[in-house]
Symmetry: C2
């Protein structure tokens, strides 16, 4: 058989091997979300970084494929959706490699990244058939605000307006919202609409939402797209607002109002928003997700006080509806989501002392499992973890009034000063008035501690447990 030389034969072997491998290759769509500033960009950057830089010094003991020595390598490969922005991994990583390191710029809207993870199977069938298998992980990063919109699908314009009115008249929002509410309540809802006036009032409502989010640190922002409009900037579909005076108008007249009346146009745009913005996200993206991680920054909310914390609670509640397939008529009617694992992660766990992590996890667990709709997620396996995507503090022991106490040390955001402190205890259940009165908690924002080399794994807390929960069963 002189016709086939060794080189050719090797190529054949290689091709045959590739073919076999492809047959066993696996694929998973992993969605990452969180309300803005919950740390999505740092999370994805660290997630990728841990895998592509995996080596003997890695600290991923709880990720079984690594613990068992079956992990071969991971790398970023081209994504399939060419029209979705690529997650800016290199750029985000460079925030951690520069001196001094900083937190990466937040992402806007949606972005994607595909990882190929090669490993040796332990699975008895695969083990004898092939040396290595590749798991493809498509990571989609999207704003958690988009999930806050889901409940709108079940609400009429009237119902949504009433719910939003309730929100706007809560103590924490009322001060800032009152001038807007006064204007709305003085409108004649049945007058012929003036589109420019409507655009102006919508801009004012959007300003309110931005203030709630960025100045007051609140979480419940509806409609979510108003604060990140993208190409829909200045489109009528983003120019509406809640009508807050339903109690004082004739409902029959409202039902019969046509689209050229002020209230008719508000209603028409609300309906179009649901159809074209909310549903589109669920149909084009959400239904494809296999697994979801939701990041929540409980500490900042605890720090901001009871109203802000209650708002986070409310937001998590609204977000949960997207995973409550059984109860939500929307899903059975419109979509068939297939998420089978859902992870809630309390981020920035490195900002409290280590013995507080369990309390932080318990607290998030309570937030998630609270409330009226005691979810029964038959199809979904859930977990809660306290994590730090990129660890920015060192923990140790200090002394306070002669007693040894646990402390953390980090570089404070703002003045860059290295400080050592005990930020206080995290309540292990949803705190009552007493907690807020005593104010035993004082959380400080830290910058990343030391710059890392580009091929070095970032320091973290429990990213290995995150990996194991989200990917472990697919990588056996």
């Amino acid at each position: 058989m002189a016709f086939i030389n060794n080189e050719t034969l090797n190529v054949f072997k290689q091709k045959a091997n590739q073919l076999v491998n492809r047959t066993f290759d696996k694929h998973i769509n992993l969605a990452v979300t969180g309300l803005s500033r919950s740390g999505k960009t740092a999370f994805i950057t660290s997630f990728v970084n841990q895998l592509v830089n995996e080596n003997s010094q890695s600290k991923l003991d709880f990720f079984n494929v690594i613990h068992q020595g079956r992990f071969i390598a991971a790398k970023r490969v081209p994504q399939k959706s060419l029209h979705v922005p690529r997650f800016a991994y290199e750029k985000s990583l460079s925030a951690f490699t520069q001196t001094p390191p900083t937190w990466p710029e937040p992402t806007h809207g949606i972005s994607e990244l595909r990882l190929a993870i090669r490993y040796q199977p332990e699975d008895s069938l695969l083990k004898y058939a092939t040396d290595s298998v590749t798991l493809y992980v498509d990571i989609t990063d999207y704003p958690g605000e988009w999930l806050l919109d889901l409940p709108m699908l079940n609400q009429t314009f009237e119902e949504w307006s009433d719910a939003t009115n309730l929100l706007l008249t809560q103590t924490i929002r009322r001060d800032k919202a009152q001038p807007f509410l006064d204007k709305i309540n003085q409108l004649d809802p049945f007058e012929a609409v003036d589109e420019d006036k409507l655009a102006e009032l919508s801009a004012e409502y959007t300003e309110l939402l931005l203030h709630f989010r960025h100045q007051l640190g609140l979480s419940v922002i509806q409609p979510g797209r108003f604060i990140l409009p993208g190409d829909l900037q200045d489109a009528p579909i983003l120019q509406f607002f809640p009508y807050t005076n339903f109690n004082n108008i004739d409902i029959d007249q409202y039902q019969n109002a046509d689209d050229n009346s002020l209230i008719g146009m508000l209603r028409a745009r609300y309906i179009e928003y649901k159809e074209r913005v909310v549903k589109t996200f669920y149909k084009e993206h959400f239904v494809n997700f296999d697994r979801q991680i939701i990041l929540a920054d409980c500490l900042t909310s605890l720090n901001s006080g009871p109203e802000s914390f209650k708002d986070l609670q409310h937001a998590l509640n609204l977000i949960m509806e997207s995973f409550n397939y059984g109860k939500s008529g929307i899903f059975t009617r419109l979509f068939s989501p297939k998420i089978d694992k859902l992870l809630f992660a309390a981020t920035k766990a490195d900002h409290v002392t280590p013995e507080q992590h369990e309390q932080l996890t318990t607290l998030l667990n309570q937030l998630v499992h609270q409330t009226q709709h005691q979810l029964s997620f038959d199809e979904i396996q859930m977990a809660t973890l306290a994590i730090a995507s990129v660890k920015s503090t060192k923990s140790g022991v200090g002394e306070h009034q002669g007693r040894k106490i646990p402390v953390i040390q980090g570089r404070r955001v703002g003045d860059d000063k290295l400080i050592t402190l005990f930020p206080g205890t995290v309540p292990n259940k949803i705190p009552h008035q007493e907690f807020w009165q005593n104010k035993t908690f004082n959380y400080v924002s830290f910058a990343p501690l030391d710059a890392v080399a580009e091929n070095q794994a970032l320091p973290h807390l429990r990213m290995d447990q995150v990996l194991e929960f989200l990917l472990g069963d697919k990588i056996k």
Copy 2:
């Protein structure tokens, strides 16, 4: 019949009248485009302004419905496409009403505006049936660059690359493009692709396009979406570039290259761009247009020299393909456009002396009717006009070396100085070498002359002829 009082009867009459009117109401989709800086925003602002402020002082004699006294009123009404940004009429108009007036900010991407024009019909049938009829005009504003992409639909990646290579090696582009071309020509097209490198080179190619457009004043920019990406910013679909070394590679190997090779990925993204970006515009917008006006700034190109002028010629040629239904296989295969009137307008006619307008019109006419594809537009009625959407100069007579010559006077952009000059003669055909050598033309940019009141009609040149050509037959 005491049961029906006068008020009720009037309401009945009114309702009956409304019902009849609606039956006779008409509708037209008018598209406005032009390469960037051709004056689209000023044009639409003036178009709307002339109609909504129509009164006894208006200067719209050539618009028959007004000349005949049948025009009643016009106003902006809500548009139908709620997801398309609203054209910022108020904001643009305010540029002309402030002191000193300026040109409005240019638009980005697509926007819409709907006008309702009420008039008395002269049509014999309508005349006896109703007092007034409404013509609804949906104006869509979109970048002319989007039309430059159409020819790509008929080109393979190889053909497009070769054509673009030719463009990049033209005298005017070569200097700036050479470093980019050198890099591309040194690439191994069959190597495994590095997406980050590809993103980097695409960014460099986009920089080139922006330089050609804004620094060199060139018109042929492909792919058009690269310079106005919107939500597609950072998406792989906008991360490709021409491969400029096809002459030196094995075409069989190219044909067989898979998507993970550098050239394979370039090709895949080029194909996806055509499918998802180019075709989508034609399918969602272009097919709905009834009439089109294309604005061209010939004077700036004449001023910039022969290369820039030749480039405008080339761009108009590419644009014409979108209206050449008969010859273009793309349309018969994919779309059924229905445009029946096409107006080419040479903008900024007020920047030359009045006796030059005819030459300017003739010149544009030649540009449009030039070239290989001597279009036979069976279905499309075409016209050419020299216009000023908002007139920014006064014309008069001056003296030069003892001879009386025509002059214009205006406020020069930059130093705001009031200057009087004769900018030179406009060639009445595509200029030859001699014209460029003698350089008898020196065009100066003028700012709007005097602020207008908000309800005052803007000064203009031939906007009435524009209105008559685009709307006249629908408003009889």
